[in-house]
């Protein structure tokens, strides 16, 4: 099943018989000439820096402002992430401010109808309902569900209010659906979260291996930096290791396809080969690595109240080697469909001491029922050969959202998290209680619900009040139907803060109008530990209010003035300086507010005025103290951990009744559920609707041509949508791919809510479906 693509042939086959393209004559379209111009303007624009609103790459952009309106964008040449280049989403991002259906006033449900009310009245109702629910049903009957698109202050005040003041750990964020496995991967392998490397690795590596990662569309600016390096330096190769052919495959030197879920087996086979050929970097392994195993046969979490705790056991290298004996390339070829020679090829690239290797991954490895394991396994490869924490040698876990790192992972807006450490740890609770000025007894040492379980609790009625900010779960939850019906139940109270109407505001009892991105001050934190400040650049429309301030207003109504004392003038600065206390010290020191304001992003640890580009390496990282060439200080034994993690099958695999894999994801034009990018005319008009991508032979067998309707049926639900054949991606036989940006085709009614038992992150990439011509 492996293809070393001949690019030309791929393009020809992919382009053949494209009906939609044939219809794509030149439309007049919405264009510059037709747009009204800001009155009296003569082209004089002022520019202000901000991180891009969209992906976790975290490009710096300059927004052009005229008369209080954002009118243009250019890449920020001072930002080292993108050096002045953006992608289409960044360039057109400011158009997302101006959809005519912006939510500008608060609405509350009265007799089944949503009616506009002054925002202060809506906030009164939110506070009253929260209090009433808590009094009647207990502290864990109320919850907040936020986002990796929350700013850092948004997430910080949410955690402070719910965990510190209201004593519930019912704080979750959609980053659970995107980065949880990355976090547990880091914690289990290194004992400390977030990548050791930085984007500069791209300028040093000779080999890039993308693991289930369509970077060309999802992290385009980083991908084009790879391409520029390949052009400039002669010794650069890109290997695409994936389950379907994408634009990344087209640009890669080699594309190797594996059967879904079998990345686990292939990663182990690569380690098997590295040991069999004695490519192990023994100096590194002896000094810096210890070996471990955990529980196996760990389940899939599809049942309510599923619980799992891993247990680690130290093993010897010999035991690890014995564990790998099952994973010879020849045996793994049978499981994965990857020819043994390709496995050996990848192993040789990792093993060659002359090559610097960077691995990239994102949702393919994280949205995986063994997501923690596959993260561990790729670290294993890098650790065996000692290719880590040096320029160009980097196992690099990319982030999807602009502040999944900044707000969710660093602020700890997950049920077990705190701004520093976890609720289970007494010392961490004490630290939080002190900084928050709350009694330590306020902070409950027991985590409650992770995201999937939180929405199950809402359905069951264990949670009766939920406040949803900056995310659209009524499109994104897997096994969606159950959770939507749960949210609609009679005595549930749903508060939604958003900027546009979505299927989530449809189920709301209160809708709060939010200030969007540059309509308020805040910070994001990107994939490479970079914190990025933006000022309020334009005014929010109507009564729209920042999500941070909404929470402060409600907190004060609940009597927590002492914890939320700030004024509107400088609350972001004050919150930042309070939050920063949690991270004092060389392992996580954050830059001051003044420094963040002045620069286009600052990487932490920011120690003595210097950013730390490669962690665990004493040449760059002042937190290293052991006097050796590396210091993996996250773990108590000062070592990085190699884990013996087996291959286990997916929660649901195709069978005779449901013979197709269903894989879901994104396209470059659209951000997540499309509520923003579909309001950007040029992006919507490029990809105006959802579709199901099929292999041409599967389509022929089913008798559908491009644009004809296909019914996708799983054990949970079904939808009908148009087929796309030979489009930008081509799945292998017996797999279909559906992007999830289009709310009129809710593909998550079909997906399965199975998750990684360690990270609790659902697997959106694998479930079984059958197809019918509709």
């Amino acid at each position: 099943m492996t293809i070393t693509i001949d690019r030309r042939r791929f393009i020809q086959s992919a382009a053949a018989g494209s009906a939609i393209a044939a219809a794509g004559a030149i439309f007049p379209g919405i264009s510059f000439g037709a747009w009204p111009k800001v009155a009296g303007n003569t082209g004089v624009v002022s520019w202000q820096k901000t991180p891009c609103r969209f992906c976790g790459t975290g490009c710096g952009v300059l927004v052009g402002v005229v008369d209080g309106r954002a009118v243009a964008v250019k890449g920020d040449p001072n930002c080292s992430v993108n050096k002045g280049l953006c992608c289409m989403k960044g360039y057109h991002s400011v158009q997302a401010l101006y959809g005519t259906d912006r939510i500008t006033t608060a609405k509350i449900r009265k007799n089944g109808e949503m009616v506009e009310v002054p925002i202060q009245e809506a906030l009164d109702l939110v506070a009253a309902k929260l209090k009433e629910t808590r009094d009647k049903h207990g502290k864990d009957s109320v919850a907040i569900y936020g986002s990796g698109q929350w700013t850092i202050p948004d997430g910080y005040v949410a955690s402070k209010l719910f965990k510190g003041c209201l004593s519930t750990n019912n704080v979750e964020a959609n980053a659970r659906l995107c980065m949880a496995s990355a976090v547990t991967g880091f914690m289990t392998s290194f004992g400390i979260d977030e990548p050791m490397g930085c984007y500069e690795d791209i300028d040093h590596a000779n080999v890039f291996i993308t693991w289930g990662n369509n970077m060309a569309e999802m992290h385009p600016v980083l991908f084009s930096r790879m391409l520029a390096n390949r052009k400039r330096r002669t010794n650069v190769k890109i290997i695409d290791f994936a389950t379907r052919l994408t634009r990344t495959s087209q640009a890669a030197d080699t594309s190797i396809l594996f059967r879904p879920q079998t990345d686990l087996a292939v990663a182990n086979a690569i380690c098997h080969e590295i040991i069999a050929n004695d490519w192990v970097n023994w100096n590194f392994v002896n000094e810096h690595v210890s070996f471990h195993k955990g529980k196996t046969n760990i389940g899939y979490g599809t049942e309510d109240h599923f619980a799992f705790t891993d247990q680690d056991e130290a093993i010897s290298f010999e035991e690890y080697k014995k564990f790998l004996a099952d994973y010879t390339p020849e045996r793994v070829e049978k499981i994965s469909g990857v020819p043994a020679k390709d496995i050996k090829y990848m192993a040789a690239l990792y093993g060659d001491p002359a090559l610097k290797v960077t691995s990239f991954w994102c949702m393919g490895m994280n949205q995986h029922t063994r997501g923690t394991w596959i993260n561990n396994l790729v670290y294993n490869i890098h650790l065996l050969v000692g290719k880590i924490s040096t320029p160009g040698n980097s196992p690099f876990s990319l982030t999807g959202q602009p502040s999944a790192c900044g707000t969710v992972r660093e602020v700890g807006t997950l049920t077990h998290g705190l701004p520093h450490g976890v609720v289970m740890n007494e010392h961490d609770r004490q630290m939080a209680a002190e900084i928050w000025e709350v009694p330590v007894a306020n902070i409950d040492p027991k985590p409650t619900y992770h995201t999937v379980e939180m929405f199950r609790a809402l359905d069951r009625g264990d949670i009766k009040f939920i406040w949803i900010q900056v995310t659209n779960p009524m499109v994104t939850m897997p096994n969606l139907k159950r959770y939507r019906e749960g949210a609609k139940k009679d005595d549930r109270f749903i508060v939604v803060s958003d900027v546009y109407p979505t299927p989530t505001t449809d189920v709301a009892d209160v809708i709060l109008p939010s200030a969007f991105w540059i309509e308020k001050e805040g910070m994001f934190g990107n994939s490479e530990r970079r914190t990025q400040h933006f000022a309020e650049i334009v005014k929010p429309p109507g009564e729209a209010m920042s999500d941070t301030w909404q929470i402060i207003e409600v907190a004060r109504r609940l009597g927590f003035e002492k914890q939320f004392p700030w004024s509107k003038e400088d609350y972001i600065e004050k919150i930042w300086e309070e939050y920063r206390k949690f991270h004092a010290g060389p392992k996580h020191e954050m830059a001051s507010y003044q420094v963040l304001r002045a620069r286009s992003g600052v990487q932490w640890p920011f120690v003595n005025g210097k950013e730390t580009r490669w962690r665990f390496n004493p040449q760059y990282d002042p937190a290293c103290t052991n006097g050796k060439d590396f210091d993996f200080y996250g773990k108590k034994d000062n070592r990085a951990w190699i884990w013996a993690r087996p291959y286990e099958p997916a929660a649901e695999s195709p069978d005779s009744e449901y013979p197709f894999w269903l894989n879901t994801g994104r396209v470059i034009e659209h951000w997540h559920t499309g509520s923003l990018t579909r309001r950007i005319p040029v992006l919507h008009n490029a990809v105006p609707s959802g579709y199901v991508e099929m292999h041409p032979e599967d389509a022929a067998q089913l008798g559908v041509v491009n644009g004809e309707k296909v019914r996708i049926i799983s054990r949970r639900g079904e939808i009908v949508m148009p087929a796309q054949i030979n489009g930008r991606g081509v799945p292998p036989r017996n797999m279909v791919f559906v992007p999830f940006f289009d709310e009129s085709y809710l593909i998550n009614e079909v997906t399965l809510d199975a998750f990684c038992p360690i990270s609790k992150q659902p697997d959106y990439k694998k479930c079984a479906v059958r197809l019918e011509k509709a």
């Binding site: 393009i11 992919a14 382009a15 494209s18 939609i20 393209a21 794509g24 030149i26 439309f27 379209g29 919405i30 264009s31 510059f32 747009w35 111009k37 009296g40 303007n41 082209g43 004089v44 002022s46 520019w47 300059l62 052009g64 402002v65 005229v66 008369d67 209080g68 009118v71 243009a72 250019k74 040449p77 050096k83 002045g84 280049l85 289409m88 360039y91 158009q95 101006y98 959809g99 005519t100 385009p220 991908f223 391409l227 520029a228 052009k231 634009r247 087209q250 002045a598 620069r599 286009s600 005319p681 040029v682 992006l683 919507h684 008009n685 490029a686 105006p688 609707s689 796309q724 930008r728």
Partner: protein
């Protein structure tokens, strides 16, 4: 000509003295001292311009198809300086493969397929074309938009009545003047008659006007 006031925030952010120190640097596009670093970034590809001039045959530099004009140029943009959308049909599999777009847009020339002279990209080193440029496959908007753009820069503005006009746009991704301002694919209004002189910025100063600059003028 410019009645509009900068917001108070701007006025505060850049006191007169600071603005004064920027006087010699008319191409300021950022607002704080850090913009000075940005200067390098904007202008470091002068070499590219020189080489492009060298590589383009004289006869091609002065050719004019008269086919593209500023109206159709801006038609493809959401604001002056935004990446233009793709005005012609592309395969659905649009790969951005270098040989696809760049086979025409790197060098220009006549395209029998479109019956037109092809515009040349000013940044052929960026080969992931679909990163920024999208085709149009549908005309209807998802919802209406209240987007407002700005007037494009006026042409032919000089600082003195007899001096050569300034460069009115940012040079990011557009450092190579030759690409857009010469040849038969160039937009008629901005085609230069003296392209063979080669070193454009010997005479034409980049002057992207910003609020800061204007505030200084008011004083």
């Amino acid at each position: 000509m410019m009645e509009k006031k900068g917001s108070e925030k701007w006025a505060k952010a850049v006191p007169g003295l600071l603005a004064l120190s920027f006087l010699g640097l008319l191409l300021v596009t950022g607002r704080e001292a850090r913009s000075v670093e940005g200067l390098d970034n904007f202008d470091h590809q002068g070499k590219k311009l020189y080489e492009a001039g060298e590589a383009t045959p004289e006869i091609y530099l002065s050719a004019d198809s008269g086919d593209r004009n500023l109206a159709s140029f801006y038609e493809l943009r959401q604001y002056p300086g935004s990446p233009p959308r793709i005005p012609h049909k592309v395969d659905l599999s649009f790969s951005g493969n270098e040989t696809d777009c760049l086979s025409c847009h790197a060098k220009g020339g006549y395209s029998p397929e479109f019956g037109k002279f092809v515009p040349v990209t000013p940044h052929p080193e960026n080969s992931l074309c679909y990163q920024c440029h999208v085709p149009l496959t549908e005309e209807k908007p998802f919802v209406a938009s209240d987007w407002q753009s700005i007037e494009p820069p006026r042409l032919g503005r000089s600082f003195l009545s007899s001096s050569p006009p300034t460069v009115p746009h940012s040079l990011q991704l557009r450092e190579n003047c030759i690409a857009c301002h010469t040849g038969p694919g160039a937009v008629a209004e901005i085609r230069v008659a003296h392209a063979s002189r080669g070193n454009c910025r010997q005479c034409h100063v980049p002057a992207v006007q910003t609020d800061e600059l204007r505030e200084f003028q008011r004083k």
